[in-house]
Amino acid sequence: MLEARGLCYRHDPRLPLIEDISLKIAPGEILGLSGPSGCGKSTLARLLAGYPRPLAGQVLLDDAPAARGGPSPIQYLSQSPIQTMNPRWRIGRIIAEGAPPDPALAAKLGVEPGWTTRFPHELSGGQLMRVALLRAVAISPRFLIADEISAPLDAVAQAELWHVLLGLARETGIGILAISHDEALLSRIATRRIGFADRMAAIS
C-alpha cells in the first residue's frame, strides 16, 4: 500500500499549492487523477515519488516511510522524459541505470534494440517515453507514478502502452497513479478515480 498522509507543499510561500492531501493506492490498483493545469497534479506526483520532501505530512510505503537510496520502489515517470535523462549517456546505459531490462519486456513496450547506441536527443518524445517506462519497470517497482505519460504518443501507441501497463498491474501487482487530462483514457484504464477542480489547497 502506498499512502500519502496530510501532504502539504508550496512553491511560492504565499500560495499553498497542496494542502493536507491524503490518498492511498493499493497494489494492482490504477488510480486515475485529473484536474486543470496548475492545480498541483505533477507536484503531488513528485511528492509521492519522494523528489521534494513535503513541508508537512508523509509518504508511507506499507506503513513505513519509503527508504531512500538505491532505485526507488516508487518510480516517477515525468511528462517530459528527456529531462530525466543524462544527455551524454546513450539509451542503452540510460535504460540499464537501475537494473538490466528484460528483453521480452523491452519488445512489449516497443523499445527497439537499435536505439541503445543513440543519444536521447536522437529519439522522438514518444520513443523517449517508452525508454523511460522500460527503465522504471526494469527495477520491478511496487508503484508507478505516471504523469501524462501517453500525451506525446499517437492513439495506437497509447493503447499499446496502457495494455502493457494494465497487464503488469494484473500480473505483478504494480499499483499505478495515472495522471491525465484525457477523461476518456482515465475512464478506460482507472480502477478508481479522483479529480481536483482547483488548486489542491482549495478543495481539501
Binding site: 486543470p36 493545469s37 496548475g38 516497443g110 527497439e112 536522437e122 522522438s124 518524445g125 514518444g126 520513443q127 517515453m129 517508452r130 500525451a151 506525446p152 504518443l153 499517437d154 492513439a155 495506437v156 501507441a157 497509447q158 493503447a159 499499446e160 496502457w162 495494455h163 484525457d182 476518456a184 483514457l185 475512464s187 478506460r188 484504464i189
Partner: protein, 260 residues
C-alpha cells in the same frame, strides 16, 4: 485573392540526420479547415516552419510550396509572413518577455502594413481576452492566455492562410472551444486554415479534412466526417487503427506498431 496553399513533394534533410520530412504533398483550400494530426516527432511543426521558410540554415529542402500558384522562395515567404501567410507558433516562448502584450500585437500589425491606430483591444476581444491584458508583460499571464495572444498577433494582419501549431495545447475546455471556433470562423469567412495538433478528437468537430502524419510522411488524407462509427468510411488502414485505438472507441491496438 484565393489563398490556395499547395505543398508538392516536400522533403527535408538535416546534415546530422534529425527528423526529416519525406515527400509531403498536401493542398489546403480556401474556406476549409484542415487538421494535420500526428504524434510528437511526426514532423508536423517542421512542416509548418518549412511552409513559411522558417527553417535553420542547414536544412536541405526539396519540392515546392505554392501560394495561389506562385512558388514560395525564402524571400517571397518573408514578405508574405503576417500578411498572406501567418503562423501561430506552438511555443509561448515566441512572445518577447520584455514587451507588453499590446506592444507585441501592434508590432505584428505594423509588420502586416497596418496603421498605428490598429485596435489592439478588438484583436484581444476576438480571442476572448479583456483589454487590460494589453498592458501586461508575458510573464504575468498564464500559458493559456499567452497562446491566445500569439493567435491575436498572427491574425492581426488578416492573413489569407493561417497555420496554427498546436493552438489548443494547455487550454482549458472553454478556451479550447473559443480558439477552435475562432479558427473555424476564419475558414467560414473564406480563409485557408491549417490546424496542427496531436489531438484528433478535439480538432475533429471543427475540421473539414484531416491529414494523418507519421514519421515525416502524410499517411492519409481523410474527410473529417469519416472518423465516425467503426471507421469503415476511412480510406487508410492507419487512420482506422488510430480511430479504433482511441479510449472512447475500442481502445484496440489491432496489431503492432513499433514506432512512437
Amino acid at each position: 485573392m484565393t489563398h490556395l496553399l499547395e505543398i508538392r513533394n516536400l522533403s527535408l534533410r538535416f546534415p546530422c540526420g534529425g527528423m526529416p520530412l519525406e515527400d509531403v504533398t498536401l493542398t489546403a483550400r480556401p474556406g476549409e479547415l484542415m487538421a494535420i494530426v500526428g504524434a510528437s516527432g511526426a514532423g508536423k511543426s517542421l512542416l509548418a516552419r518549412a511552409v513559411l521558410h522558417l527553417l535553420p540554415a542547414n536544412a536541405r529542402m526539396g519540392g515546392e510550396i505554392r501560394l495561389n500558384g506562385i512558388p514560395l522562395s525564402p524571400a517571397t515567404a518573408a514578405g508574405m509572413r503576417g500578411r498572406a501567410l501567418a503562423l501561430v507558433p506552438q511555443s509561448v516562448t515566441f512572445l518577447d518577455p520584455l514587451a507588453t502584450v499590446g506592444q507585441q500585437i501592434r508590432w505584428a500589425a505594423r509588420r502586416a502594413g497596418l496603421p498605428r491606430s490598429f485596435p489592439v483591444d478588438q484583436a484581444l476581444a476576438r480571442v476572448g481576452l479583456p483589454p487590460e491584458v494589453a498592458r501586461l508583460y508575458p510573464g504575468a499571464i498564464s500559458a493559456g492566455m499567452a497562446r491566445r495572444v500569439l493567435l491575436a498577433a498572427a491574425l492581426a494582419g488578416d492573413p489569407g492562410v493561417v497555420l496554427a501549431d498546436e493552438p489548443t495545447d494547455g487550454l482549458d475546455p472553454d478556451n479550447l472551444r473559443l480558439v477552435l471556433r475562432r479558427l473555424r470562423a476564419l475558414a467560414d469567412a473564406g480563409r485557408t486554415v491549417v490546424v496542427i495538433t496531436h489531438d484528433l478528437v478535439t480538432a475533429l468537430p471543427y475540421a473539414d479534412r484531416v491529414a494523418v502524419m507519421r514519421e515525416g510522411r502524410i499517411l492519409a488524407e481523410e474527410r473529417a466526417a469519416a472518423f465516425s462509427g467503426d471507421g469503415s468510411a476511412l480510406l487508410s488502414d492507419w487512420s482506422r487503427r488510430l480511430w479504433n485505438a482511441l479510449p472512447q472507441n475500442a481502445f484496440d491496438t489491432a496489431g503492432r506498431s513499433t514506432h512512437a
